[in-house]
Symmetry: C2
Subunit: 539 residues, 2 copies
Amino acid sequence: MSETWSSELTPLSFLQRSGEVFAEHPAVVYGDEVRTYREFAAQVQQRARALRAAGVRPGDRVAYLMPNVPEMLAAHFAVPLAGAVLVAINTRLAPEEVRYILDHSGAGVLVLDAAYAGTVAPVARSLTTVRTIAVAVDPLGPAPAVEVPGAVSFDDLLAGAVREPAEPAWAVDDEWAPISINYTSGTTGRPKGVVYTHRGAYLNSFGEIVHSAHDAGSVYLWTLPMFHCNGWCTTWALAAVGGTHVCLREVRGDRVWELIDRHRVTHLNGAPTVLTTIMRADRAHPLDRPLVVTTAGAPPSPTTILQMEQLGFRIVHVYGLTETYGPYTVNQHQVAWDRLGAEERAALQARQGVGMLQAERVRVVDEDMNDVPADGTTVGEIVMRGNNVMQGYFRDPEGTATAFAGGWFHSGDLGVMHPDGYVELRDRAKDVIISGGENISTIEIEHAVASHPDVLEVAVIGVPDPTWGERPKAFVVVEPGTAPAEEELLEHVRSRIARYKAPREVEFVTALPKTSTGKVQKYELREKEWSGEATRIRG
Amino acid sequence: MSETWSSELTPLSFLQRSGEVFAEHPAVVYGDEVRTYREFAAQVQQRARALRAAGVRPGDRVAYLMPNVPEMLAAHFAVPLAGAVLVAINTRLAPEEVRYILDHSGAGVLVLDAAYAGTVAPVARSLTTVRTIAVAVDPLGPAPAVEVPGAVSFDDLLAGAVREPAEPAWAVDDEWAPISINYTSGTTGRPKGVVYTHRGAYLNSFGEIVHSAHDAGSVYLWTLPMFHCNGWCTTWALAAVGGTHVCLREVRGDRVWELIDRHRVTHLNGAPTVLTTIMRADRAHPLDRPLVVTTAGAPPSPTTILQMEQLGFRIVHVYGLTETYGPYTVNQHQVAWDRLGAEERAALQARQGVGMLQAERVRVVDEDMNDVPADGTTVGEIVMRGNNVMQGYFRDPEGTATAFAGGWFHSGDLGVMHPDGYVELRDRAKDVIISGGENISTIEIEHAVASHPDVLEVAVIGVPDPTWGERPKAFVVVEPGTAPAEEELLEHVRSRIARYKAPREVEFVTALPKTSTGKVQKYELREKEWSGEATRIRG
């Protein structure tokens, strides 16, 4: 519906505007290359036309497998501009996982960076819906290590734009139409496709702008993967205010500092692991200006917060899930905290906080959906709703209904409500580990471990890790008469799932702790591994 | 519609959130009184309940006639919280004009500050829909000069809240429902009721936040009347970020400076007249921090801009109409301008600019709705559309259809499009004068002048004024054989319409310039009065 007095909300309008208003302002910086907003908008138009020429029709899914390069950023506008839905795939996944996502999403086109030719090549012939695979060779990245069967070059795909001369409008007919599907590890071991809408992406962009304090002077370094919740909508938010995107292929500490210094970076986002990487880099040094670091999940340790603040970083602590477009709550800073001691203040800053401006209130509820007392001790499940909750899981009405039971999205995270209305995470109800910012399903790992012939029983839990927050650890009971080596078992697992998901450690045990009905009591395993820690999770 | 994945957009959510998140943060400062957001939200709840107890039902109109006091601010939340529609009436109107607005809007309740008892008393008995009139006596304001027939005290109205103990929810069933009706002088001489929606108010609030750079540290001085487009939506926007409202009854230069200094004001809005008032005050002095002044319509002169910038003010120049929730375009600052000389830069800053972030593009069109060339010289009409265009004129489908002809809102303002996409005003198509930030219909003045028995013919135009931007001037042809005195004529006019609308000057002429068909050529009158000026309007 579009009337004189209404327009459908879409982040496409952000780039239309900045392409005109910030025409000469740098939009994307990559290596020595700088693209203005006028150039960036024109490139996006060209890519949208090329996708249409490749047969992409409204509502179709278009998948991208790329690091944080300009082409990946362009896809966030070009795919919806073509009327299609972006599926940005985690680059760390194994071939079988990528195949599943491509088939499940029903993507017709896959664009990949040459670095991931090895991921796609083994499954290229068996994809059920992809009819066009295009390989982009980035001058700053590697050449394809192997040939992807049936693939064309991205340049060839792009050349098709001439056959589609009409420029698509920077608008949508329906703000509730999907703009992207982000696959996330669930508890079942199969990734779920989280559907974002144009309206949700638009409103969350405003939230990011307000809470991370973005404006046309923002110089944003892409340390957060764009395939994580579309970079928490910052792909779109930054274009809204005319800020500058600084792209990079890999998050290495010294490279990050080189870019911070060279481009006078003002903002970056990332999991606590990224902060640790930045702090530990040899080039780390005090800043001559504030740099806003928005970080999600459990916060870095009070020591890290303090160290970073001393260097000139300003930490904005947010919390959310793929299902909430990334951040849903923010640890809104209170002026009164400035009068507290460092330790006490850090403890308050470690809370996940309150619903963001564009979000509704966050709740902590018991099993009957009643709010738990706001006493800072009663544990309940964190639930959310409203414009920054996903529309549902793609092609999974049952999973959607379960997640939305009672009219609220169930995060699966357990937490407490403090008397001041700030939520704090305590544990996860779902069998999910978050390691270096990546969700990992313990059940998925268990299936991979159990597929080894010598394994009788297995239980996987997350254990604390100083670098990654958590890492998976497997407790294994072997078949009588066998004695598999730890390394052999891990190699077997790595051949089946992404390497980062494999346990970092295996403990062989004679039996797993179980309930009287035979259910494995992971709780007991966790208690032992986390003794001495205040919570049972880390971000 | 409210689903797990959607919530209706409404500014009510802003105060709900700030009432919790910024509970101890100052929300409203007035005289020596400070109310926190927790207190302010509670007061708003009480007022909403009182309105319900007074019989206010969903969709009803509730009128307020008040200066920029805390009670007026509270009304911006309390009235919609009660499910009703706020009609904030210009305090400078004459009794007959107020009566027309109350009757036309069908308001059931009128709340007025005691200072305006004299305005309401003469018409109180003849109102067709108002059943409750409540007079609020502000401790910092005057006692009622006259009694308003049938009125109760605001305290009595408020006391009714106990009869309605249920707290209304900070939510709406439909984001397209009206939140307010703002009456504006049109060309016809009768005020038109401009309907704002919850969604429009919500989105425009985000626009204000981004373009005026508001955050929780904002200390906003209420120099812009709240009855002007609900204070350009800043009533709502500031509550979104948890900023502090500083209220005041009258905009006097020294009082403004006293408040700027005392409360360390960071932001204020106003017509160029307000800026002039501030600059000319005895207490004017350099600021030790930036203060953002958002000003609308034609900008202050380059000299004023320069002087204000030297004192530490940062000018944000915006343009819009009552029909566009206040600002629709913004003179988005370009980094490249900083390298220009002061004069050249001031000329660029004087342009009305580009559509704001939440707005669509602004267009300049010819009579067939084609865009005029972006050459900076071809004049066309400025048209707008989208989420920050009013839903329509209340109870005026014909006027709405005319204003929305061709699917765009016709501003009635004439302008040019520059090659860089910035719009610049040149003239007004409609017979409207903007004097000290107030719209005045020339036709309305002409009717008042012509009602004098000695007047044969009259034409009113706006002429340049160093303080008010423009002021109305009347050209009068008298009845043969009569010779009315200028002062007598003006006194006659002032008895019929608000004093600020009366011509500041009358020129008696023997004949008015006319076309061959007998239509008065105001253009010729304007050419003479505006010779030497670059444009034919001033803000």
